[in-house]
């Protein structure tokens, strides 16, 4: 494995890609490719995504997590991503920040979920310093006791990814596509979505948040901007990402199996 460059100051190099309204599935594909095939450290910031999209974690079950009928009726895209964690619905009001690091990029950081999560909160402590009552609560970023950022990770032998979808703003009607998850943090206390989450726009502007994030990164890494085209041109054709769009049939079948495993209706033609 190529050893990443280190600047004379001793901070490891981190390449920064800034995107705007990039489709979330494509973002996930880029992230997975960089995690699996690159030896550099990366930060990806995607300011919004055009189409409202549901994104489930690797083990997510549509029937348990989604209101299937409205999702199918409104043709909301549903993606299963390669990282763990829960289900979100993202759109133009979301801001995505991703860190992809070699396991020795952060001194003395053990490549396990909890240490990585704690380290990420140090970055965001700097970002939100003086802004709202920010902290990491269980595995979520909150202001007070309301979540505004959901996290997920994937850890390989020598690298890890920690990515976050931030609710800078959201559409209330979109939350209706999501069920209350059976697996939820304790501090949620059975609150429904609208009582549990909050909007980052009530605390900070989009541009300030992104600028402060890049500055906070700069205190830990030597940050260098990279163009997406440079990565795309060097893409390995052999790499097959796991993140994918579920078909309507898959979503409908999952719903049928949950309701009635042997129902003939599940297998009838539309």
């Amino acid at each position: 494995m190529t050893i990443p460059q280190r600047q004379k100051l001793g901070r490891p190099l981190m390449k920064l890609i800034r995107l705007r309204e990039w489709p979330i599935l494509q973002q996930l594909h880029i992230e997975e490719q960089l995690l699996r095939t690159s030896s550099e450290n990366w930060c990806i910031i995607n300011d919004g995504t055009r189409e409202p999209t549901i994104v489930m974690g690797v083990s997510g079950k549509p029937a348990e997590l989604l209101e299937i009928k409205p999702v199918l009726h409104d043709q909301v895209p549903v993606i299963k991503r390669f990282t763990g964690g829960g289900t979100v619905i993202v759109d133009g009001g979301s801001i995505f920040v991703t860190f992809i690091c070699n396991k020795d990029a952060v001194p003395d950081l053990q490549p396990y979920p909890r240490p990585i999560m704690s380290w990420s909160s140090l970055i965001y402590n700097e970002v939100f310093h003086g802004t709202g009552d920010f902290h990491l609560r269980e595995n979520d970023y909150v202001f007070g006791n309301r979540k505004f950022g959901g996290n997920a990770q994937s850890i390989t032998k020598g690298r890890w990814i920690h990515h976050t979808s931030f609710l800078w703003d959201y559409e209330i009607r979109n939350m209706a596509y999501l069920k209350l998850p059976s697996r939820a943090p304790e501090y949620r206390s059975a609150r429904d979505h609208l009582e549990f989450i909050c909007r980052m726009k009530d605390y900070i502007s989009r541009s300030d948040f992104i600028d402060r994030t890049v500055r906070a990164l700069g205190t830990h890494f030597s940050v260098e901007s990279e163009e997406l085209e440079a990565i795309q041109s060097g893409r390995s054709t052999k790499f097959s990402p796991l993140s994918r769009l579920l078909t309507a049939q898959e979503i409908e079948s999952a719903s049928c199996e949950l309701e009635s495993p042997k129902s003939l209706a599940c297998f009838s033609s539309p």
Partner: protein, 144 residues
Amino acid sequence: MASRLLWASRAASYLRISVAHRGFATVLKDLKYYDSHEWVKVEGNSATVGITDHAQDHLGDVVFVELPEVGAPVTQGEGFGAVESVKATSDVNSPVTGKVVEVNSSPYEQGWIIKVEMSDAGQLNNLMDADKYSKFCEEEDAKH
């Protein structure tokens, strides 16, 4: 790696995942250990593979397991599956090279994941014994 056989909540008992943090992790003398925290029990040309207590302690509650198919090739140091704990998937890497001959289909048996017919028993020399692995874990934890 492609997902094959999947378990969800039963994986916790199947892999003997501890919910509460333990003060020490069990390291068994008759096993060999890989530096990404997999254990292997060698019997002739057969290797039984699982995840160590140390890894499980650090991962937290395992909620999902992604496993290979019988017949799939595995290579020392490369991922053959993954476990999901809250928010994170973590690759499970093979400590040996060979072919998967059995996948643990019973969640109530001992916490092994796959059995491998090894193609290169010499690679076992790359693994740690129990004492070296215990020291390896202590050093890793001391850095935190």
